[in-house]
Amino acid sequence: MIHLSLPAALAALLAGLGVYGVLARRNAVLVLIGVELILNAANLLLVTAGSRPGAPLSAGPVITLFVITIAAAEITVALAIILVMFRRTGHIDLTAVPDLSDEPEPAGEGAP
């Protein structure tokens, strides 16, 4: 016996923290951490909903597993892009105006 409003409240809390993390960070990897928190809130909500008696098709845990897989794919590509950004600009600061030109820039290490 467990009251399901508890995990639901935790999910809401995690989502809020994730939103704050996304907005309060300028380091791109740390923004990703916020994104992961939001994803986990969604996962928790799915599991919670799936734990209700009479939930059909085992949808809760199955979709949670799917979301975890998608999260793995997402983080791989996202980190690849962040590493590209680091190599091109020498930083991963999201408050900087991005350069989207086609031409490669001189490596950031050499820049003053």
Binding site: V19, V22, L23, R25, A28, L94, T95, P98, L100
Partner: protein, 637 residues
């Protein structure tokens, strides 16, 4: 019999192949080339004299082309037999002569093989009873002429001449192909008999015949395609002899003769042919008079003579048939081969073909002097040499055409023919006087040759220069070689044939038909022309061409800048092509590229729009999301 005809076509091709494989071994190459051409000449003789006259011979079976019937048959009759015999004979002579003439050439093997292939082309054209086979032979000759003219490929002038010949004849070949296609479509068959007997669309017939005339004009060097032929003198002299005597340039005559029954009924094509031939024969004869190089003079004379053959076909009445043209073709084959080979011999002796270098060199040469004399006399049409008979056959045929309702066309031809007779006599006499008068004689009368003229003469010579530079180099490198017996024999035999060649033509229908009146008239004109030159040249002491003002003569030597006109045509075509390309690229393609530019510009603009600071963008995005969610929730509540 049918096998003989097939072998006549196939053997030279095999000889070409073997010769090409054995090109490094000179003896083998020469042996194959000479023996096969001798064998082919014998086969040609058999075909000519054999009792069975007409035969339709199967080759490789027809092509499966649906409605169009392409049987690829050979057609053997008395005309083709005679022509192939003469062709084979001339080729044999040239092969034998070449063995001596190119004695020091490292690429003799290739040359001999190419001559064999060239003979294949001509013999295939002669034997073919099918327009497609005819075209194949025609194109083989076109390609081989490129190889032969450009034989001395290390010389830029030879390369240019080869390309010029190839391109000019190719351009004209467009007409040939169009004509053949039109004729085939009209008859629904490419078989010669079917084409000749077909009845149908008159327009298609006109298009076909005019197309063929244009193709013939290219290969035979009628105005305006004539300028490649003098330039083709850059090839070795045997190649010139081959191209001029019995094969390539004469092939057109043969083709039109084969289609004569169609031409006889089509005024448009015949008029075109008549005008082209008339203009060419007079123009070329005039230019021949002005040349400073023996080979170039011979080349222009060839143009003139070919035009004479074609004029016979253009003006002769239908019932007379093409015999007159064929007969002049054969006669011309003998004496022109003789003249070219003689010129080659002489150039070896003198170390060049420029008339300045050759002046008086003929006198001490014995047999060669006789041969050249016979050749020039035949060219001028002195009886009883073959040239007299054939030319007067042509004049007679044209006169008959003119009096028999040929109209203006035939009269034009007749007048042109008589003018040409005078001019031919003039340049032949000039050539003989220049070659035969001892040089010392000119030295005795320095005051008759003004210094100005001499200077101009030198200038002309240096600009035109010797046509066969390779020969000059060869002589400089190896000295004056004595001619071999076999090569000398070839020249002598050709001279003999020039004397008695008329006998060959007896079997040809309408081959020899001399009208008394026309013969007398032409003899008078001939004598007049010759005397005028003899008189003007002060009995051979002065070049009569020097009497022509320099500012006329110099362009005349260069063919009045027709070459420049060709280049201009080429430039114009290139310019049009560039224009088309530019239109395609800058107008037609501009739209697709424009879309690309627009897309890229849009992308750039979008990129500008996306150049937000990420964290701020995230902030606004989430503000929006939360606002929407709040609104949604409140509305839902």
């Amino acid at each position: 019999m049918s096998w003989i005809v097939r072998m006549i076509v196939v053997l030279p091709a095999l000889a070409a192949l073997i010769g090409l494989l054995a090109r490094r071994r000179r003896a083998v190459a020469a042996g194959v080339a000479v023996s096969v051409s001798a064998y082919v000449a014998v086969l040609g003789l058999i075909q000519w004299v054999a009792p069975s006259r007409s035969a339709d011979i199967d080759t490789i079976g027809g092509l499966p082309l649906g409605d169009l019937s392409v049987p690829l048959h050979l057609l053997s009759d008395r005309v083709s037999g005679l022509v192939s015999f003469v062709v084979a004979l001339v080729v044999l002579g040239i092969q034998v002569f070449t063995v001596w003439y190119l004695r020091d050439d490292a690429r003799y093997g290739q040359f001999a093989a190419t001559v064999s292939l060239f003979a294949t082309g001509m013999l295939l054209l002669v034997q073919s009873g099918d327009l497609v086979l005819m075209l194949v032979g025609w194109e083989i000759m076109g390609w081989c002429s490129w190889l032969l003219i450009g034989h001395d490929s290390e010389r830029a002038a030879a390369r240019r001449a080869a390309y010029k010949a190839f391109l000019v004849t190719r351009v004209a070949d467009i007409g040939m192909v169009v004509g053949i296609v039109a004729l085939s479509v009209r008859a629904r068959s490419t078989d010669l008999m079917a084409v000749l007997t077909a009845t149908g669309d008159g327009t298609l017939l006109t298009v076909g015949l005019v197309g063929v005339v244009i193709g013939v004009a290219g290969k035979s060097g009628l105005v305006p395609f004539h300028d490649w032929l003098p330039d083709a003198m850059e090839g070795p002299t045997p190649a010139s002899a081959l191209i001029h005597a019995a094969t390539m340039v004469a092939a057109g005559t043969y083709v039109i003769a084969r289609l004569f029954t169609l031409y006889a009924e089509n005024d448009t094509a015949r008029t075109l042919l008549a005008v082209l031939a008339a203009v060419t024969m007079v123009y070329a004869a005039l230019l021949a008079l002005a040349q400073t190089d023996l080979k170039r003079m011979l080349a222009y004379s060839t143009l003139s003579q070919i035009a004479i053959m074609l004029s016979a076909l253009a003006a002769a009445p239908a019932e007379l048939g093409p015999g007159a043209g064929i007969s002049h073709l054969l006669g011309h084959a003998f004496f022109k081969a003789l003249l070219f080979l003689g010129a080659g011999w002489l150039s070896v002796l003198a170390g060049g073909t420029a008339i300045v270098a050759l002046r008086g060199r003929l006198r001490p040469t014995g047999a060669l002097r006789w041969s050249m004399g016979i050749g020039l006399a035949a060219l001028a049409g002195v009886p009883p040499l073959v040239g007299f008979f054939t030319k007067d056959t042509v004049i007679d045929a044209a006169l008959e055409g003119a009096t028999g309702g040929g109209g203006l066309r035939a009269w034009l031809v007749v007048v042109a023919l008589f003018v040409t007779v005078v001019l031919t006599a003039a340049y032949c006499t000039r050539a003989w006087l220049l070659l035969d008068t001892p040089v010392a004689a000119t030295g005795e009368l320095p005051d008759t040759a003004p210094a100005v003229v001499a200077e101009e003469d030198v200038a002309v010579v240096t600009t035109a220069d010797s046509a066969d530079d390779a020969e000059v180099e060869r002589v400089h490198a190896h000295g004056h070689a004595t001619i071999t017996l076999s090569a000398a024999l070839v020249v002598s035999v050709l001279a003999a044939l020039t004397v008695v060649g008329t006998l060959f033509l007896a079997s040809l229908r309408g081959g020899v038909h001399v009208g008394l009146l026309s013969a007398l008239l032409s003899l008078l004109l001939l004598a007049g022309g010759a005397y005028a030159v003899w008189f003007l040249s002060d009995r051979g002491r002065v070049d009569v061409a020097e009497r022509i003002p320099g500012r006329v003569r110099e362009p005349a030597v260069r063919g009045f800048g027709v070459d420049t006109a060709y280049v201009a045509v080429g430039r114009a075509v290139t310019t049009v092509a560039r224009l088309v390309v530019a239109l395609d690229r800058d107008v037609v393609d501009a739209y697709p590229r424009g879309t690309a530019v627009v897309a890229r510009a849009a992308g750039r603009a979008g990129e500008r729009g996306h150049r937000g600071v990420p964290s701020l963008s995230l902030l606004s995005l989430l503000v929006g999301v939360v606002l929407v969610a709040v609104l949604g929730v409140t509305a839902w509540r």
